[in-house]
Symmetry: C2
Subunit: 464 residues, 2 copies
Amino acid sequence: MTDVPRDLDRYFSENAERIRSELFDLLAIPSVSARSEHDPDTRRAAQWIAGSLGAAGLKATVHETPGQPVVVGEYRDAPAGAPTVLVYGHYDVQPAEPLELWTSPPFEPSVRDGRIYARGSVDDKGQLFLHIKALEAHLAVRGKLPINVILLAEGEEEVGSVNLASFVEAQKQLLRCDAVVISDSAMFAPGLPSVLSSLRGLAYFQIDVQGPAQDLHSGSYGGAVVNPAMALARILATMHDAQGRVAIPGFYDAVRDWPAHVREQMRTLPFRDEDFRAEVGAPGLGGESGYSVLEQLWTRPTCEVNGLLSGYTGEGAKTVLPAKAMAKVSCRLVPDQDPAEIERLMAEHVRRVAPPGATATVTPLHGGRPWRAELDGPLYDAARRALATAFGREPVITGEGGSIPVVGDFERVLGAPVLLVGFGLPGENAHAPDEWMSVENFEKGMRAIAVLWEEISGDYHSQY
Amino acid sequence: MTDVPRDLDRYFSENAERIRSELFDLLAIPSVSARSEHDPDTRRAAQWIAGSLGAAGLKATVHETPGQPVVVGEYRDAPAGAPTVLVYGHYDVQPAEPLELWTSPPFEPSVRDGRIYARGSVDDKGQLFLHIKALEAHLAVRGKLPINVILLAEGEEEVGSVNLASFVEAQKQLLRCDAVVISDSAMFAPGLPSVLSSLRGLAYFQIDVQGPAQDLHSGSYGGAVVNPAMALARILATMHDAQGRVAIPGFYDAVRDWPAHVREQMRTLPFRDEDFRAEVGAPGLGGESGYSVLEQLWTRPTCEVNGLLSGYTGEGAKTVLPAKAMAKVSCRLVPDQDPAEIERLMAEHVRRVAPPGATATVTPLHGGRPWRAELDGPLYDAARRALATAFGREPVITGEGGSIPVVGDFERVLGAPVLLVGFGLPGENAHAPDEWMSVENFEKGMRAIAVLWEEISGDYHSQY
């Protein structure tokens, strides 16, 4: 294990105060993309990022979209044959409400106990900013970067990145690259640098069951008319078997096994089921038998009810036989499950199990492909060495049960592998009051990324 | 089959216009018990009924209650040994909204196509009033009644008869009687006088399933945490077997078989499944196999979902793993099922089938006993002859899937059998705009009730 190069390390140390002060300026901008009254602030944050990129020595452009601008910074002066890396981040933040639950105001950054408290500190302004500072350090100290860099910062991540995919499609020449690096996730535990190996995909449906044409009196009609809420319950109950496996025929056909060494490594992570159970506050855990909790969350597909609505839901008793019943149902997917194929299987299954006397309709609402990282190529190797250099230990491989749709978009449109290396921590309150980022992770993260550019240049030079 | 006695028949004919005019006065009073702004109207209706009873020759008293008054009319001058009959009805009405759907204003009675249109025309002012006129006819023509009569009219039937049971308890000496007669129901079809043989009871529950302590992200947590909405669906799906029978162990233990001749008679009623299906607007019918629709509705118990609520129920997709799920569930009961016993069985069943990892709670909300008429005694025989005399054909025996709690209260407190003989018709819009009562049924109903007092006096004299 080597050290962080002395010149870069010194730059970060000597400029620590200025860097912190700049970060606080960025965090003070309430760029809440979900609230149109904050549009001027969100645009101001875009301009701020562009200014910061320019000051670091990149060519910065603010691209208009139908929504918030996309900011692109470019450095194209690396030696011939050097790879091009695209860095993605976002400058918009979640709404800060409820404000009264914040210990210090969300847009007045404050350091307490080694943590930077502010809305956006970890999601994602702090992590985006440390990338800009890593680039700045190379250019300030050495006057050059060993790789070409495109830094792309969007302002609509917290509202579903609605304009990003079409922007990437339209600008795919500008954005052409050999690898994509994203820091918008968390480490598994303090001191454990982490590389995210997978994201689950999603197939989200609404199931509507229509019984009688209108609500009926459950006394006068009950017993001869099929109750759509009961029919819906019977449909939903067919979706798992007694072992917690999804019982939709064909559901697992495309599931690809995980490499044994990755599963092996997951089992060594510091994790206690009882801590997890206490964290969620459930009386017990469940799910597919034969898998650990982390395997269930990261490596296995699911079928969940996200919402139920039928008939009378107020206080007390109303004797109604409802005309209809609705469920929101979603499947988390793992490679190589295809949302469109899962939609087909779900619709077919519901058609097969729906009781006569009611009409069940399945409407797909939303889909996203699962993703799995290449953990063997030069990109991962470079990240492994860079993280080891900055944090003093080899990274662990983690997974993520949720979805980040842009990851798949980048891979698909740009044809480049994606590296997800984040510096958040469990309990960081990314979408809640008192969001924070660890000062130590910010400092080490900046250094890890600075080293990553060196490692990538070496790896790519030698291997491609 | 005999004719309506000439003197009574002539009285009804000669006074038809005055009787109609008085009925219209009663119907014009907007005695909507559910609306406190109508309290003065509701009290006015009580006074109106008392005045009408007094004019007919009964001793009328208005009894205050914590809510609307109870009006009692008494005739105690029948020959020694004559039975005492209690007539029950109500002078309050449903709200008339939405007013724009009425062809003529709800409180301006109007006759069209042989129907009296007004709020309360059939439910229950018209039917209560024809009882008063039947008593009046006897007293006017003959100066006496062959039986003792207590007429009880309440003003809170449409808001759950909240003060009636305690009034009956408190006044049980005053209300002591040999039989109770109620006209607040409908005939099976035009020209088919009907005696209601049964009412179903009710056991109404709320089932709450608690999973994690708060809503979770379905991506980050889905697969390891028991989903309470899915758990609820699995619980509900255990409540019926594949034949549509309720699958709660012990549920049918107390169900008493129906007399073969009653079932036989129900099968001869003019009823087409397809008409019923079209009326409810469902794609097909369902329920317990091996029973006709009318048997399902009148003679068999049920288990229905009345409401479902969990997680996200708005438009589009939200990836939430809900903390909790709720179902309103109710069982219609038939003799001799006991609501308290069904509550016990339901709680025990849910406890047994609820999956681990979530906590299911069953809360009883409401209960009422089922009721079945004695179809062999002198009361029923008298009704059969009276209806045959007035309508020119023997009555049919019908059932009712809903519940009328006061029926059980009268039987329990007063120890007297109840006769439910109503003169409404299918499609009468009892709780909807354009409520109506058939003019023919009003005229024949008055005569049938007048004859009933004769028939009861004869029957009871000879048999007791």
